[in-house]
């Protein structure tokens, strides 16, 4: 993401699009992993949103995070699409980058608290 910001600052639209698409693909991979994980929990383990407090907290935290990632992916792809149609503001890419890394930083916390701490 940040490399696409540097690219647009240099005026390198091609590389900006490349890094943005790469970021969107990785975001899509994350979402795919989440869908897979949720499917395992719901279908195989019978763990629903209201099964217990832990499952409610888990699905609310990670599900809302997934929604934010989905919004981020849409924003990334929108910037790529817009870059073909109109003048690009470097700040526009930068603002999307700030949103993306805000979502990123939240995952740093969720990953440790929900997945790693025994």
């Amino acid at each position: 993401m940040v490399l696409s910001v540097n690219a647009i600052i240099r005026g390198d639209l091609k590389r900006m699009r490349l890094w943005l698409i790469g970021t969107a693909v990785l975001g899509g991979l994350f979402l795919g992993g989440q869908v897979y994980e949720f499917t395992i929990f719901v279908v195989n383990d019978g763990l629903g949103f209201t099964t217990n407090v832990a499952s409610s907290a888990f699905f609310a935290l990670t599900g809302l995070h997934g929604v934010h990632v989905l919004v981020g992916v849409i924003m990334l792809l929108s910037v790529v699409a817009l870059s073909f149609r109109r003048k690009m503001h470097a700040e526009a890419v930068e603002v999307v980058g700030l949103y993306w890394h805000f979502v990123d930083i939240v995952w740093v916390l969720i990953f440790t608290v929900v997945y790693l701490i025994p």
Partner: protein, 143 residues
């Protein structure tokens, strides 16, 4: 589709080809990325730590989480290069968030509770429906 420099907005505060002293270079971003990868690998490795060192895993994980948080905020969100006002805004928000979190945990008796699933104090143990020594219905015989 043209990728000309002219396609970039002239009113943007950052102009193509302009040299910027403020802000990380691509190489610095890659360095931060590799540090984050190593820290994450270290975090995940705690899953396989021996049982007797598990008690230090939690503080290690929390410290690594804080380091990763600040690496992303300072470099990827370029807080390091932001004006003092934005830095103060960020840190003020962070302090308020930590306080709210601590207050919420206190309201849920996190520090004193033995860990019930509904975050409340454990309910009092109801009296046994029969005397546990005599196995007869009603209270224990007093004789």
């Amino acid at each position: 589709v043209s990728t000309d420099v002219a396609e970039v907005d002239d009113h943007s505060p950052v102009h193509p080809g302009e040299h910027h002293d403020h802000g990380p270079t691509d190489r610095q971003y890659f360095n931060i990325f590799f540090i984050l990868v190593v820290l994450t690998a270290l975090e995940v490795s705690t899953e396989w730590w021996p049982e007797d060192s598990r008690n230090i895993a939690v503080p290690v994980l929390l410290i690594l989480m804080v380091i990763k948080f600040f690496l992303v905020a300072l470099w990827f969100m370029h807080l390091k290069w932001d004006p003092a006002l934005l830095k103060r805004t960020f840190y003020s928000g962070m302090v308020v968030a930590i306080l709210v979190y601590a207050i919420a945990l206190s309201a849920m008796n996190f520090w004193t509770d033995s860990g019930t699933t509904n975050f409340n104090d454990p309910p009092p143990v109801p009296p046994a429906p029969f005397c546990t020594t005599s196995q007869e219905p009603g209270p224990c015989p007093t004789d």
